[in-house]
């Protein structure tokens, strides 16, 4: 009887831009039609929007775990997983079933509660961080005014959870892995933030959608006005890229879980579903930090060439995301792991000074009108550390002819 009294408003028009918001719109429309109170509609809409983002990236995680193995295989002239389903497309499902059905082992010396909490707390910040990134012109899950700050603030939680994982396991390898991970993440967070600061200075806002808006338009009619195509933005972007590899614990900075040295780092004592959660947190973190890099330097959802606006903006975002993730895979396939002292020295003696130099460069860029004069002033400024590094590299660090005294 009450169903008959349901009053459905006409379904709102769905444009291609707002296509990812379809579930949210649908749920809101249904609830409103059934006469739900306004707060319920609001909350349900938020929940569904959040679920959309989480769903998309959980699917992305599953797909990436397959694509990563395929790409690594191809880089080593192998085929990669091709048994489960068509071209191995069901491999993530098989992996997931395997992970879920495995025994959940908790070491006798472990702190039970912290051991349980750590994998959960490692996924949560990644998901929270994914919430503030603008994926499209209209697809912004949470348009925060302090989006960038929020991103870094929740990112700080990862370190605590890694420490919890390492310490609660009650054995040596996790402890060593956690210590490595924390020192690495603390060291690389600094240049990461400094690189992002340059963008904030030039854009004059901490809101990620606004930062993307500021990168709209084209120079000379075809060069997109992204931050990457400015001298300071190029340097900051590259540094940001390197730092994000380290923050995401990816090869060649995957010391915290260096298999050949400390088994699996802080994840050593985990099995089954908790282990899968660690992996999920890691990959979601990778998505989040790549998304942030795209937002800050690669123009977010802006099209790369004029006249391509008929493609929905979120497709551009995900195309850029795929490209960035592929570059991560390529780097993983290529480079060997660095040593811990090399890693720390690189962070403190190379990354941070270079990142600090991008700040005055960005300021000069902003106050000299972003024209020819800006190029003339900022390019030499940014080249200084490069020249210094080249000299040091060639004078002291470069590998020369190796002499083996005791080898045959």
């Amino acid at each position: 009887m009450s169903l008959l009294a349901v009053q459905f408003a006409p379904f709102p028009q769905i444009t291609r831009e707002a296509l990812p918001l379809l579930p949210k719109t649908l749920v809101e429309w249904l609830l409103a039609g059934f006469g739900a109170p306004e707060w319920l509609v609001l909350i349900a809409g938020f929940l569904v929007a959040a679920a959309t983002v989480v769903g998309v990236f959980a699917g992305g995680f599953a797909l990436l775990s397959l694509v990563e193995r395929k790409t690594l295989a191809r880089a080593q002239n192998r085929i990669g997983p091709n048994r489960a389903g068509w071209f191995g497309i069901l491999q993530p499902v098989a992996d997931g079933i395997k992970m879920l059905t495995k025994e959940d082992i908790v070491p006798a010396k472990a702190e039970k509660l912290l051991h349980l909490l750590a994998p959960i707390m490692i996924v949560v910040p990644s998901i929270l961080a994914l919430g503030v990134i603008p994926y499209g012109r209209e697809w912004i899950p949470v348009p925060l005014e302090l989006g960038l700050l929020f991103f870094f603030a929740v990112g700080a939680m990862t370190e605590v959870s890694i420490f919890m994982a390492g310490w609660a396991s009650g054995s040596k390898f996790p402890m060593l892995g956690a210590m490595r991970a924390i020192s690495q993440m603390v060291s690389y967070e600094l240049p990461l933030m400094i690189c992002a600061l340059g963008v904030v200075m030039v854009s004059g806002t901490l809101s990620l959608p606004d930062i993307v808006d500021k990168q709209g338009g084209f120079h000379l009619g075809f060069i997109p006005a992204w931050n990457l195509f400015t001298p300071w933005g190029l340097v900051a972007g590259l540094l940001f890229y390197v730092c994000s590899i380290a923050e995401a614990n990816r090869c060649p900075f995957d010391l915290p879980e260096g298999e050949s040295e400390i088994v699996a780092g802080h994840m050593t004592e985990y099995s089954g579903f908790k282990y899968a959660l660690f992996f999920m947190g890691e990959y979601l973190g990778l998505f989040a930090i790549s998304g942030l890099g795209i937002t800050l330097f690669l123009g977010g959802w802006q099209a790369p060439l004029p006249g391509l606006d008929f493609v929905p903006s979120w497709i551009w975002f995900f195309a850029k995301l795929c490209a960035v993730i592929f570059s991560f895979l390529w780097i993983r396939a290529t480079f060997p792991r660095v040593r811990i002292d090399q890693l720390m020295r690189f962070a403190w003696l190379c990354m941070i000074p270079m990142a600090l130099l991008t700040l005055p460069a960005a300021a000069i860029w902003h106050f000299t009108g972003r024209g020819f004069l800006s190029w003339v002033v900022t390019v030499p400024l940014l080249l200084i550390p490069w020249v210094i590094i080249t000299v040091i590299y060639n004078k002291r660090l470069a590998p020369t002819l190796r002499t083996y005294h005791f080898a045959e």
Partner: protein, 171 residues
């Protein structure tokens, strides 16, 4: 008001745990929890920027730093700590309870005067930045000098004596 009512006991419980727990790492983790809840309290009080900064600096840096130095140094014996507790607690309470009494007394007197209750006050990031670099510019410079000095000082302190080329530790 309701978020405050929920948060306040949580913060107090976490702080109590940080003070009470005998195992140093537990205390440090509970400190991190206290600080995080504090950040949420700031968010509830519509001081968004301060809340996020609190989260970033305290949870991301200070708590991690404390936890990290707990790992490097070997914490003392827990049993000893617990055994010593009754005696130290007496002195501790004897010193801190009067302080608490004084403070609570002032608060209870203050309540009568506290009439000006603003219902909604938030601050935009532009406002904050402008105030920071105009009214409080000397303080910003002072803090900048302080932080630089601290960075150099901490690096010098933490350097292993006897080694010339040591990477500065994270501080």
């Amino acid at each position: 008001m309701i978020p405050l009512l929920i948060l306040t006991p949580l913060i107090l419980l976490a702080a109590l745990g940080a003070v009470w727990k005998a195992r140093p790492v537990h205390a440090a983790l509970l400190l991190a929890l206290t600080l995080a809840l504090n950040a949420i309290l700031y968010l509830v009080l519509s001081a968004d920027f301060i809340g996020l900064i609190q989260f970033m600096v305290y949870v991301g840096a200070v708590a991690v730093l404390i936890v990290f130095s707990l790992l490097i140094t070997r914490p003392g014996d827990e049993a000893e700590e617990i055994a010593r507790r009754p005696r130290s607690l007496v002195t501790g309470l004897a010193c801190s309870l009067p302080v608490l009494a004084v403070m609570l007394f002032i608060v209870s007197r203050f309540e009568n005067a506290g009439q000006a209750v603003a219902d909604a006050r938030s601050v935009s990031i532009e406002q904050l930045g402008t105030t920071l670099f105009t009214t409080h510019a000397p303080a910003v410079m002072a803090v900048g000098v302080l932080l630089t000095a601290v960075m150099i000082g901490a690096a010098l302190f933490a350097r292993e004596p006897g080694k010339k080329t040591q990477t500065p530790s994270d501080s």
